[in-house]
Subunit: 212 residues, 4 copies
C-alpha cells in the first residue's frame, strides 16, 4: 500500500515539545513571597497547590495523548490540525492558571479555569474522533473506542457541574476537577490493552512478511 | 552512493524544539487583567484573538515545514542555514505579537506585524529553494514544486496589500493575514500527494533491493 | 511475547524536553545588576554560583535519568506516573533557586532549597523502584540494583544533615549539597557497566534469532 | 563488540532541546518600546541587531555541535559531562545578551559578552577533545581533527583581541565577534566531508556484514 501520509513521529515530537514547555513555564508564574521565613512560604502554599493541579492536568493529558497516538501509524491533515487545536487550548492552561492565582481563586476566575479545561477536553475529543475517522477510512480500525468516548462525555458533564459549583463554592469546583483527573489516570482500561495486544501481533505478522 | 550529508532527523528535531518554544512562550505575553469578573475578561478578549492568530500562523508553518522537509532525506549546509534563517524570522513573531498588543493594534504596529510575517514567508521560500536546489543537484527531484512556489508569490503579494491596508484599517490588514493562512492550511494539494506516492514507491523499491 | 506496553522512546523525548526547559529557563532568573562595571558584576556573583549549582544538579539528574531508563525497553503506567512525579519535583528547582536568590541565601530559603532537592531525590528513588518492579514482573531483571539504591539512602541522609546545617551555616548546607552531587556524577560504577554488557549480549542474541 | 556506552541519540535530543530553548527565550529580552511609530522602532533597532548576533552565534554552534557529534556513535561519561559543560556556558548567552542590552553596549558589558563567548568556545573545544579521546581509545579515530582544533585556537585568539578592543571600541569588538562566526559557518571544510565519506563506507560494510 502506498503511504501517502506522513508517520506521526514528528507530530509526537512536536507535541512532546509543546507540552514540555507548557508544563514547565507554569513554574515562572510562581512568585517568591515578600515575607521571610515560614510566614512567606504559607502565603505561597495555595499557589503551589494550583500549580500541582495544573501540572497533573497537563501530565495526564500527555499520557493520554501518548496512548491515543499509539493507535495510529499515520497522520493525515485532519489529525495534524485537530492536534494543533488541542495544543492551542492546552497552551492556555498556564494563562488561566495565573489568572486564578492573581484573582486569589475568586468565583469568576475558578469558573474560567474550569471552562478552559472543558475546552481542552473537548478539543482532545475532536483529536480522538479525527484519529478514529482516519483509522476507519483506511480500514485499520479493529474496534470502536466506545469506552474512551463515553469517558469524554462523562468528563464534560462533570466539568459543567464544576462551572456551576464555582459560582458559590470554588473549592468544590476544584475538587470536581481533581475527580475528573482521577478518571483519566489510566488512559486505557482493559479495552486498550487488548487493542495493543492485537496490533502487536499484527505488526509481528507484518515483520514476518517483510523478512519472508 | 556515499552519504556525505547528514540526515534531516536532527534538523527536524531542532526545528520542532524551536517552533514548540515559539508557539508556547507567546502565552507569557497574555497578561491577567486588573479588573475582576467579566469586565476584566472583556479587556483581554482582543489579546486572545491576536494570540490565536499568531498561534495558528506558527502552527500552519510547522505543518508546512513538516511537509517541506519530508521531500528530502539529506540536509546539506545550505539547507541548515536556510532553516536557521527561517527560524530567526519565525522567532520574532512572539515579539511582534506583544508589540501589536502593547500598542493596542495601532496602524504602525499592525503594519510591523504584517512585515514580520512577510519576512517569515520570504525566509520559508528561501528554505524551499535551498531544498529544491539540493534535490536537483543530487538528481532526486522528480518534479519542480511550481504550485507551492506560486502560492508563495501570491502570499507575499497579499501581505504587501495588508501592509498598505494597515495604515488606515488595521482590521482589514489582520483579515488579509487570516486569509493568507487559509491558503496554507493544506500544504500540498494534489501535486504533493502524488510526489509522496512516487517517493513511497521508490523507497519500497529501495527496500526490496536492500533485502535482495 | 506480545508487547502490551509502549516503548520508553516518547517518555524519554518528553522528559528530555521538560528537563531541557527546566535547565534553561533558570537563566531568566538571573537579573542584570543596576550598577555598571565590575561592581555590578560582583553583586551578580553569588547568583551565578547558585545558578551553576542548580544547573549542575539538574544536569546530573538528566544523566542519571538517561542511565536509569536505559535499563528498560518498556514503560508501563506505573513508570509513566513515577516519571511525572519526578519531573514535578524537578520542575520546582527553578522556583526554589529564585527563592534562595531573592532571600539572599538566608537560613530558611537555603533549608527550603535543600528540602526541594530531598523531594526530587526521593521521587527519583520512586521512579527507580517502579522500573525495578516492572523488570521483576516481566522477568527481565538480571540483578537487583542494590548499589544504586544504597546511594539513594546515603544521599537522603546527607540532605537531612544539610537541612539541619542550613539553620546556622547556609554555606555548609550548600557544601553538603555539592558533595551529594559528586556522589552522583558517575551514575553507574562497575555494576551498571556489567549490566549493559549483559543486555548488549542479549540483544545481540535476539538480533541473531530475528534474522535466523 | 559489546556496547558498554549508550548511543548519542538522547544526548543529541537533550542538546537540541536545550539549544532550542536558549535560542528562543532570548526573544523575551526584546522589550516593546514606549514610544509609538517609527521613533519607537528606531530605539529597538540596536536591540534587534544584538539579538540577531546572539541568535546567529547560537545557531552556528548548533550546526557545529551537530557535525561534531556526527563523528561518534557512542557517548561515554566524559562526553556527557563535557556536553553539559558546553551547554552551561551556552545557556549564559541569553543572560549576557540582556546584560549588554541593559547597559546600552558600554565597554564593560561588551567585554563581558565577548568573555562569555570565549568560555563557550573553550567549552566546545573541551567537548571536541573528549570525543576525540573516546574515538582514539575505542580505536575508531581515522584521522586527527587537526584543522578544527586549529580553528578553535584562532577563534580564541581573535576573541582575546575583541576583549581588548571592547575597552575603547565596542563596535570593533562586536565586529571581531561577527568575524569569528564567519570562520565557523562551515563546520567542516573538506577534511570532514572526507571523514563522513569514510564512515559512510564503513557503516555500509557493517550493514553488509549484518545481513550476510
Amino acid at each position: 500500500m502506498a503511504k501517502t501520509h506522513s508517520s506521526p513521529a514528528r507530530l509526537e515530537a512536536f507535541s512532546d515539545g509543546v507540552i514540555a514547555v507548557i508544563i514547565t513555564i507554569m513554574v515562572l508564574e510562581l512568585k517568591v513571597p515578600l515575607q521571610n521565613g515560614l510566614a512567606g512560604l504559607a502565603t505561597v502554599w495555595p499557589t503551589l497547590v494550583v500549580y500541582a493541579l495544573s501540572f497533573t492536568f497537563t501530565g495526564i493529558y500527555w499520557i493520554n495523548h501518548n496512548h491515543l497516538l499509539h493507535r495510529t501509524d499515520q497522520a493525515d491533515e485532519r489529525i495534524l490540525y485537530a492536534n494543533l487545536f488541542f495544543l492551542f487550548w492546552l497552551s492556555l492552561i498556564p494563562f488561566f492558571t495565573s489568572y486564578v492565582l492573581d484573582k486569589k481563586l475568586d468565583a469568576f476566575s475558578v469558573g474560567l479555569y474550569v471552562v478552559s479545561m472543558i475546552l481542552t477536553g473537548f478539543s482532545f475529543l475532536v483529536l480522538r474522533l479525527a484519529i478514529g475517522r482516519h483509522l476507519r477510512e483506511t480500514g485499520r480500525l479493529e474496534r470502536e473506542d466506545a469506552a474512551a468516548e463515553r469517558k469524554h462525555w462523562i468528563s464534560l458533564a462533570m466539568y459543567l457541574i464544576a462551572v456551576g459549583a464555582s459560582v458559590h463554592h470554588s473549592n468544590i469546583a476544584l475538587g470536581i476537577v481533581a475527580l475528573v483527573m482521577v478518571l483519566w489516570i489510566t488512559p486505557s482500561a482493559q479495552a486498550d490493552a487488548l487493542d495493543h495486544c492485537i496490533s502487536a501481533h499484527m505488526s509481528e505478522a507484518d515483520g514476518a512478511k517483510d523478512l519472508a
